[in-house]
Subunit: 706 residues, 2 copies
Amino acid sequence: MLRRSTIVAGLLVLVLGPASAQTSTAKAVGEIQFLEEFGTMWTFDAPPLAYWKATYDFAPDQAWLDHVRLASVRLPNCSSSFVSADGLVLTNHHCARSCISAVSPADTNYQETGFVAQTRAEEKACPNLWVDQLLSIEDVTDDVRAAITADAPARQVAQRDSITTVLEEACSADTGDHCQVVRFYQGGMYSLYRYHRFSDVRLVMAPEEHISFFGGDPDNFTYPRFDLDFTLLRVYQDGEPRPTEHYFPWSDHGADEGELVFVTGNPGSTGRLLTMAQMEYLRDADYPARLKSYQARLGVLRELAAESDEAARQYQNQIFGLENAHKAVSGYLRGLDDPEIMSRKASFESDFRDRIAADPELQARYGDAWDRIAEAQGELGDIAPLVRHYRFAGSQLFTMAGGLVRLPQQRALPDSLRLSQYRGEGMERIAGYVMGEVSIDPAMEKMTLAATLTAAQAELPADDPFLAALLQGRSPEVAAEALIDGTRLADQSYRALLFEGGTEAVNASDDPLLAAALTVEPLARAVADRAAELNAVISANAELVGQAIFSAYGTSLPPDATFTLRISDGVVKRYPMNGTVAPPVTNFYGLYARAAAFGHEPPWQLPERWLERRDLLDLETPLNFVSTNDIIGGNSGSPVINRNAEVVGLIFDGNIEQLPNRFIFTNEVSRSVSVHSAGIMEALRKIYDAAHLADELTGTTVTGSR
Amino acid sequence: MLRRSTIVAGLLVLVLGPASAQTSTAKAVGEIQFLEEFGTMWTFDAPPLAYWKATYDFAPDQAWLDHVRLASVRLPNCSSSFVSADGLVLTNHHCARSCISAVSPADTNYQETGFVAQTRAEEKACPNLWVDQLLSIEDVTDDVRAAITADAPARQVAQRDSITTVLEEACSADTGDHCQVVRFYQGGMYSLYRYHRFSDVRLVMAPEEHISFFGGDPDNFTYPRFDLDFTLLRVYQDGEPRPTEHYFPWSDHGADEGELVFVTGNPGSTGRLLTMAQMEYLRDADYPARLKSYQARLGVLRELAAESDEAARQYQNQIFGLENAHKAVSGYLRGLDDPEIMSRKASFESDFRDRIAADPELQARYGDAWDRIAEAQGELGDIAPLVRHYRFAGSQLFTMAGGLVRLPQQRALPDSLRLSQYRGEGMERIAGYVMGEVSIDPAMEKMTLAATLTAAQAELPADDPFLAALLQGRSPEVAAEALIDGTRLADQSYRALLFEGGTEAVNASDDPLLAAALTVEPLARAVADRAAELNAVISANAELVGQAIFSAYGTSLPPDATFTLRISDGVVKRYPMNGTVAPPVTNFYGLYARAAAFGHEPPWQLPERWLERRDLLDLETPLNFVSTNDIIGGNSGSPVINRNAEVVGLIFDGNIEQLPNRFIFTNEVSRSVSVHSAGIMEALRKIYDAAHLADELTGTTVTGSR
């Protein structure tokens, strides 16, 4: 493991020097080790230059950093980068799925067949896809702080939301760019991120999903891997490819083992600053309940899928999706269940709190925050079964019944007093769902509603009013059957009638599911309101914790992920696995090996073209590789670059050992998984007849020549 | 997991029916579930026919069983089988290592180059290698029991040894065969095994070690694997290949996933009948101490290896060997540390003891055995640090000093009163070692002796007499340096002088290492004597436990492994691993994949011939596969056969998840690892120009034609 703590401890003084409020806290808390567990998701306004210099003898100048920032661009839910002077953008196949489907002609599906534009004219505009380029970062912490004057946590949240909107709108009005206020360190610091948005994005090349997602959900989150999970897009402006000087050239041969590599992308969310109480809540209440709910839903789906081959096909994707969610949450939970991880977390917290307590001023400002979070989490844990079950869940028809009851009520309230999901555009989205066309599968509705009620029955007391309203003394199966058979809500025109008639019509209806929803609604609202209050308390105190930590460490400690641009350092590196060693790279041999080992059965089947052209490939060509960079969901599509800012790979996953990194960064066995640059090149030239794209990437065509 | 419990419970009555003593116990203990955890290492005199019929619809007749028994032959430390009518024997490459080295000409090493006899004349006689064919099994429990009349446990052990020798010698005298009394169920049952020994065994074909042990020690005990770990030998008689009708024909295409396969071979040792106290001793005292000792020795070796490339090469094998021992013991310990495994073990034991206690007669006979074992294990645990450290260990010179002190003393005693290692041929072996040539590496001697003394210092009290004798107030490093520099025992002629001079010469010597050995000897002997007494108590009571369990279950419960022939049923089957699925088979693609993924660096380099002939191979050909058969060390070289008694594979390892099976059999993720029959065939024909052997195996040559 890279031991950063001593180096970072040295940095502490430097970083904290200028800001006087920070200096006082820094002095009070002194030198605290444990920093390496906060990972390496650095922001571009605070790159850890001294640490990079000391660790890798790498000292990039500001021009390098600016160039890398501008070449690293964000998709709506993913990361990506410019990889040619003509605006070619590299990202994961799974980041461009909706575009690939949307641009497929009626008689074909590019997901299955793959797609290569042989000329620019053939490049296909992706609906609803844009690319954001980060132009600037501005510290607006003081502006946000100044606007938060209330004492009540819920009111503070509203004030924060309001000043955020003001700052973002002012910035957009001034510049015409997209602006976003980002909350770092749980509120320890606020920055205004300004993006240029490119809205004309076209599909240039996509391999078949069977090769980009080879091994499917079973292999997802694992390594060794053999996935060609890349797609090429191009950014256009005024109908022409948008030229850019800020792009990453293609590396000649990728990175060697042990070599420094950077990942620049947008990690979505981590919980490394969470307090012990917050993690214990996740460990003891939230995650176990989620896993149980996945299991229950999987049980139903597997039962349905077992009925016929067609049913198996129909439910396969949902089953895989749930299995994957189960795998991910199990991984997070494994971290929280790891006594070593938790004791390191506990040591940090108790050490840090002791140091805060030693200074009366700091103690007065921050001292109680951990206890208040713990209290609120405690109550949240107590009401968790109600929060979980007092919902319109388990059946689409029941969800719509809930919407029909709530829509007129919520519409009558001012936006800020509505339930959170009804605020802003939420109201219309829910109305659209309730009024829209849906295909209802009554057998599935009954099974899932029964399963939901069974789960509620297992956790709620026998005399619970929610259960009473739905079961009315019946078993979950009998009740579900009666409710689904009895309701008319599958009829869109009946729903329209109720929607137009408002509360009066809803109250007057004799529909049994609607009647149940009417009883459930005030129960669900009361529980949701209380949970929202508690979450506001947690959020306000988490902000204090974040301020305390930030004022001690400043940006020498990278903030939790916020789906904004970060640069993470790491090295390509094998790791101990399964009693032996996982190799640093995989290759095309391994791809064919795994396909054959499973008899080419799904999800390990290869596209026809890969079988036909096998002999054209150099099978030793690297396909995927692992490195110690710090990533999480949202980093999908991030470029992996070397110190010359050349593309050596493309992040597409982490290994299963990386999942606990959500809460604590370790790199003994946790690895990021990337497509290797050489694998992409080999496939473009030998499998996809896309030499023109390979040439564009390697810079061997003249810019703009096609 | 195969649930055998209900079926076996049904068998209970059948099995126990005939024997009246057993029936009474069986009635008392009633129907106990948990049987599947005792595994599937069946003896040939008690095949579980009803269970096979019910589980696989497979009902072999006695001729099938006899044929399979006679075709499955034993090597001195491994298993093997006849695979042609001309006496060809299939086993693992690692089982024939010493022969392959021994028959190599002066200028070459068949371990590195591989070897193929192109004609029978080229087949090379292996020194010290023989093949044992099991001819008959006879129950001699009554004879053994009748001979054990003493009350003292140590005396019982001596009586048992004595009757065993009598029975074996009588059998050998009668038949001219090799006979062995085998103790099953810790003494619950004794059988006389009679073998025909073939002593003329010749090397026919061996691949290179780099392919037979591809991945080396890192990959050992793991899967997916890519090892061609096979060798062909041939049994000769009177200078001619020994024809046999009892051989396994080669399967056309191997076994499909899900197919029933049998492993017939000689598992060495398991501990599934151990009591909780015995397992807790291993868990809390024995295994942790072993791991610590491996670590200490590894520390020394790694320090030595770091000094130069030559040193690295010199110590590499020892380091790998220790790492592998560490891996194995860690795996066993993982089983004992698994709360679920231990609670299943505890449930079985407490349930079984309750049932014994319910019958006064059984209680009187067996009831105390568990407690007596626990007491003895407790004391053994208390003196374990003395047992561990009061030894002539850590230095070859010190070991020889101990021998010089002990040899004259022990020689003066009758054999039965000697320390166990000096009994029988032990005396001469030790004398040979002490008087023989040894190459002494003084730097290593000092380091390992210092490490041994440091380890002793950490566990023994400050005033310990052993430490006092060796350290004499010095640090371990200083003491070791002084002792090794000061001793003359590296001089073989000086040792000869002392040996010839006996106790008098030893006492008169002023050699410092000898002086230390003289002080240590009585301490070490006292501790060894007490440990032997305690082990005799454990052994005698373990025999009672074995009798109790055997009298309840009879042979419906397979006995612990005894390095005698067993037949284990299982199926070829993938398993969950690393968040995804390990495939049922691997293939040649995977071999080349793993070599390339590590840049062809050792131990993942391929023999030249494998690189040159790659294009001749069908790379999809299966190379290794996994199955749920129950195996352990000693099973190496066992054939894997289908229900037609055709060879589909060759056991060579287990996966790392199988290591805990030493104590409890599970097959959720534990797997046996075999070379696939098709992989052997492909390599013989395409890599080794050994079509004549391939043809002999597939029966396409006329018997005796070459």
